[in-house]
Structure formats: structure tokens, C-alpha cells
Subunit: 198 residues, 2 copies
Amino acid sequence: MGPGPLNDLQAALARLPGIGRKTAQRLAFHVLRRPREEAEALAQALLAAKDAIVPCPQCFNLAERHQGLCDICANPRRDRQVICVVEDAGAVLVLESNQLLRGMYHVLGGLLSPLDGIRPEDLRLDELVVRVRRDEVREVILALNASAEGDATAAYLARLLTGLTKVTRLARGLPVGADLDLADRVTLAHALDGRQAL
Amino acid sequence: MGPGPLNDLQAALARLPGIGRKTAQRLAFHVLRRPREEAEALAQALLAAKDAIVPCPQCFNLAERHQGLCDICANPRRDRQVICVVEDAGAVLVLESNQLLRGMYHVLGGLLSPLDGIRPEDLRLDELVVRVRRDEVREVILALNASAEGDATAAYLARLLTGLTKVTRLARGLPVGADLDLADRVTLAHALDGRQAL
């Protein structure tokens, strides 16, 4: 149909999640209409983010390569004895942007899912246990999606940490089946306030 | 909130049309999760499209820089005596993907719009008149959006080409106010079949 480089760009854009063929075409035309600097800025931001951002060696949240620990782990005013366990770094951003927690985070890197073949050894569980012991953690708050996988992971973690620390999870203020990313501040605050011991 | 390079990437993505803050974040996280090769492919496709694609010197459709004329103008089997006038290169893609025309195209680069300050001298009108005279064009088909700007541009072109060639426009099969990009094949076919002399 169109010139090859245009088709290539549309194909590359359509590989992004939630970007269909029509949207990819609209975006590609936008890029062609705008000054080269804008395409350069986007291209450079893609590679810079990819190169500069690595998992924090302690909590596996996103960190800048040259900084070592992530901003939260490096912050001496955070409470090291409360760890909020989340599925991925996106959940950290959601919780941080709402400023609801003074503790630390631990990013599991997924949720247990027999169907998808995600087993305990695929998650960062050993690293969590090491932190809980080393920092004498008072409470581990499980902030996981209210899904079957989230519940399975919560149950597994509750067993794993028995006797080591108190384990709580977000109250069922979250609508069942909902994605944590889509919760609003009030719902999140209710869920945090009503967290229950497991 | 997040690390700087992540924020930069989200900001660059959010500058794209129809990409809000949430979507930009989702896309940025996707890029971070996927192999570097994918980010490289997208970055490279952005710059390659920007560098390799230029307006066709004859019809102002998209063309590859090293090829000179666009694929349609370079195709000897197209009817040079029928020119379909469109607002932008996106409209060419829509019409071509539905294979409804055997003629050529002429991309105006916009529609007349006193409100937006787009005047006749901002459109590629002289180039159209030159082609109509040189190729002894039998018919100019105006395939413009069914909007106030589309109607104003059609009326202007009908006057401009009076005595030079027959001017038709797409039948009002298009719902009033609709965007040409969103029309389906049947609607487009009706609109072409029922085109009316101006």
C-alpha cells in the first residue's frame, strides 16, 4: 500500500499494546507531518529509557542504572520495616503517585499462575525473605490484583512468611477482578485502611 | 515520580495524538519489559520513515525519496486523465486500499478554512491546474470530507477548473460531518458511483 518505510513504521507501532492498525496509521501520519526533531526525541527517549532503567537490586522497582538503588530504597526517611509487595513496577508508581505509604516496596515480577506456567521460583520470593529477616520487617502488605492469581500469590506468601512477620493484604475495597492500575485514590485508600491479617 | 528516562519516554509518547497520560505510561512500561531490539526497531522505523518519505513531486502523495515519483504516479497503467483530489495522503491510502479508482491523485495538503487561516495559496492548486492542462484531464473527482471546509474547497475548485475539465464530487453517501478515513468500502463505493457534476 503505502511506501515501505511508512508500512514499517505502522507495523512497529502496531506491535505496541492497544495500538490497532488504524491507530498505528494515524500515529505514523502524525510523525510524517511533524518536524524531524519530534521523531528524534521519541526515538531517543525509547532507547534512553531502555538503556538507563534497570531493576533496583533490592526491591526490583525501576531504577536508574547509574544510581544503584531506586529512589525509594535510597530514601533514608522511608520505613524499612514495612514492605508493600506488588506485582510490577507499575503498581509502585500508582501507589507512590497517591502518596499512601511510608514504607518500602518489593516487586515480585509477576503473580503465580499455573495456567501461564508462572511458578514460585519465577518470582522474587527469596529476595523478599532475605529482606524481611535482615530488616526485621514488622509488616508485609500484599498489594496485589484482586484476581485468582493475586489471591493464589497472597496465600502462598502468607504461608512463606508465617512466623517471620505480620502479613496483611489490601481490603476488599477493590472490585473483584479489577486491575490495580485502574483504582482511584479513594478506593486505594479504603483498601489500605481496611487491610486484613492473613 | 518514576526515574527520569521513564518520565521522558512517557512525555514523548504522550505528545502523540490520542495518547493520554495513562496510555503513555502503559506503552512505556511495555517498552521496558520487552527486549531492546523492539525499542530499537521502533526508534529506527521512526527515523527511517521521517527521512525516506517525501511528498511526490507530481501529486504530493507520500513517496520514497530515492524513487522520485510515488508508486501511483510511476504506474503506467493508471489513467492520467482522471485525477482524484484529496485533502491529505491518508485519504489516498483509504481509497487505494479499497481499489476503487484507476486514475491518479492530487493531494491538496489541507482544506480551505478562513477560521484556521488556510487560504487558496496554502494549497497545491497551481500544481493541479498545470496537471489538468498538461495531461488533458477528462475529469477531476473531488474526494473531500463532507464538512464546511470540504464544501468550501470543492466550490473553489469547481470555479478554478471551469472550462478546463469536468469536475465531480463524491455523492452525499457520506454522512454529513464524517471523516473520509472512517468510511467503509460500501459507503465509499456509493459515494463514488453517485458523484455529481459541479
